[in-house]
Amino acid sequence: MDENDPRFKPLKEQDGFALIPDRWKVDYFMSMGELSRFSLELKENGRLMGTKCPECGSIYCWPRSWCHDCYVDCEWVEMEPRGRITLFARVEISLNDIQTEVPYMQGGVQLEGARYPIVQFIRGEFEKMYPGMPVRVEFRPPEERTGRIRDFYFVPDV
């Protein structure tokens, strides 16, 4: 960063020690590669996709393209958009620039049929939640969807 950079800030001095301001920032287009269908179905069709191992029958969501036990390629399947809460927490203060709105709740959700739970945002009344509570997927409206996991969240299904 040089002094012509609009983000430039001058050196800070504290107790006789120098603190030089700087910033690292890198831009990406992250390739979803063989998992692209997950993002495309989410964004375009509001469908939650997983994958299934043709040998052991394990269903993975988040999807993986091969089964780590059987070492064979998995097949795409659509997930049932419901499950049960495993663990959950309410975050009171934002600790990064990724999720700034607080408070929010996140928790593990065991999707129906899936081998492992996923972690996702959960909306609802914190005090009324409990492990094992049924939840269902809610998708954001199509115009708000970006193909990322923030396109959906869970709400109580009781």
Binding site: V26, Y28, M30, S65, Y71
Partner: protein, 391 residues
């Protein structure tokens, strides 16, 4: 220490972009190929060393533990090495140590890199530049090419090496890549083509630069006791030399005539361990770190393939050509073959294994008993690992 052999190798094809594959998927495909080559199952693998260079490339700090889990190695040991361009060499060394020490009998080295998710080439170069000394060199914004360019310039001034001479390395390595179905950049080039490509940092033009690749390579290291459990005859790692020195571009303690003293130190150590006294006769093939065309000329000297200042003569006499006295980079090297950074050093070892097995296809060098693999990284080769492999 116990003897350590390589019984399995695998790699993906190397491309500028594997848009259809994530970096864990690339890793998986090379792992699967290596397991099949060794006649092994993943349950045979006791421990894994990950060779993944740059967190900024994978857009993930600690990418290794995500890959480790997806590869089905949960609750087995996994560790990641990152030492710039020498990541692959140092990862192999770490795996070697695990086996030689008796800690494990079967250790896998998985090298993978996916560079193309960075939004553009400037973001890529910036990500590499972040390795500079944070107090006294980072503010220069200097790229690694600058540090290598300075060493090459020294060779030009002192030994009369020209841009035309360096172009011969590009013609050779792009041409060698035509014999490698996994290579990214096979090309029929002339010296004039190289000279006509745009200048980036004098004297290095676009075609003098190594590639940016995506891909993965895996090798499986085993103890002598364990070799009978696998399908392939082992290729033995007989020499491992490593050296890390100043990461600042110009500071080097008394390098003598060496322009890459870390390389020379790593070669000396590998030769001493392998009992190599005359590398030019003991070694029949080499895969070395041609990050830039002129660098390969300097490396001939660092490895003792010829005398100091004789690298250009060695090149012009056809010494490193296919059919020459000591073919260098039959795979195409980093200029013609691939440079998926974390995968590179691992892939080099895999290529030497192919040469020793006699399975290198159209790029096979006849009668290979011993080969050399070397990778380096950091400003002006601050890290270097040299390995000697023998049948």
């Amino acid at each position: 220490m116990r003897r350590v052999g390589i019984v399995g190798i695998g790699n993906t094809p190397f491309k500028s972009r594997h848009i259809d594959k994530t970096f864990p998927r690339l890793a998986y495909e090379s792992v699967k190929a290596a397991l099949e080559d060794a006649g092994a199952s993943k349950d045979d693998v006791e421990s894994v060393v990950y060779s993944i260079y740059n967190d900024f490339f994978e857009h993930c700090m600690m990418p290794d533990h995500h890959v480790h889990y997806l590869l089905g190695f949960a609750r087995r040991p996994g560790v990641r090495i990152t030492t710039g361009g020498a990541t692959g060499g140092y990862a192999l060394r770490a795996a070697y140590a695990e086996v030689a020490s008796g800690l494990h009998d079967v250790v896998m080295v998985v090298g993978v890199e996916k560079v193309g998710d960075l939004a553009n080439v400037m973001e890529m170069v910036k990500s590499i530049t972040y390795a500079a000394d944070p107090f006294f060199e980072a503010a220069l914004g200097a790229s690694p090419a600058g540090s290598y360019g300075a060493a090459i310039r020294f060779h030009m001034d002192n030994y009369g090496t020209t841009q035309e001479d360096m172009a011969l390395v590009v013609v050779k390595n792009k041409g060698n890549a035509k014999n490698n179905p996994d290579a990214q950049s096979p090309m029929d080039l002339t010296v004039e083509d190289v000279l006509a490509s745009p200048m980036i940092i004098y004297p290095l033009k676009v075609l003098d630069h190594c590639l940016n690749s995506e891909g993965a390579a895996t090798v499986i290291l085993v103890s002598e006791e364990a070799t009978s459990r696998f399908a392939r005859e082992p290729v033995w790692i007989t020499g491992v030399g490593a050296s890390t020195e100043s990461g600042r571009q110009a500071e080097r303690d008394d390098p003598g005539r060496s322009l890459f003293p870390a390389v020379r130190a790593s070669a000396d150590a590998a030769y001493a361990m392998a009992g190599v006294t005359d590398p030019a006769s003991a070694i029949q093939v080499a895969e070395v770190y041609d990050s830039f065309s002129g660098v390969e000329i300097l490396l001939y000297e660092e490895f003792g393939f010829c005398g100091w200042g004789e690298g250009t003569r060695f090149l012009k006499e056809g010494g490193p050509d296919m059919g020459g006295r000591l073919p260098v980079n039959p795979s195409g090297g980093l200029i013609g073959g691939e440079h998926a950074i974390g995968a590179t050093g691992v892939y080099q070892a895999a290529e030497i294994v192919r040469q020793i097995r006699g399975e290198a296809g159209a790029r096979q060098v006849p009668g290979v008993k011993a080969g050399l693999a070397q990778s380096m990284g950091g400003a002006r080769g601050a890290y270097s690992v040299t390995m000697v492999l023998e049948g």
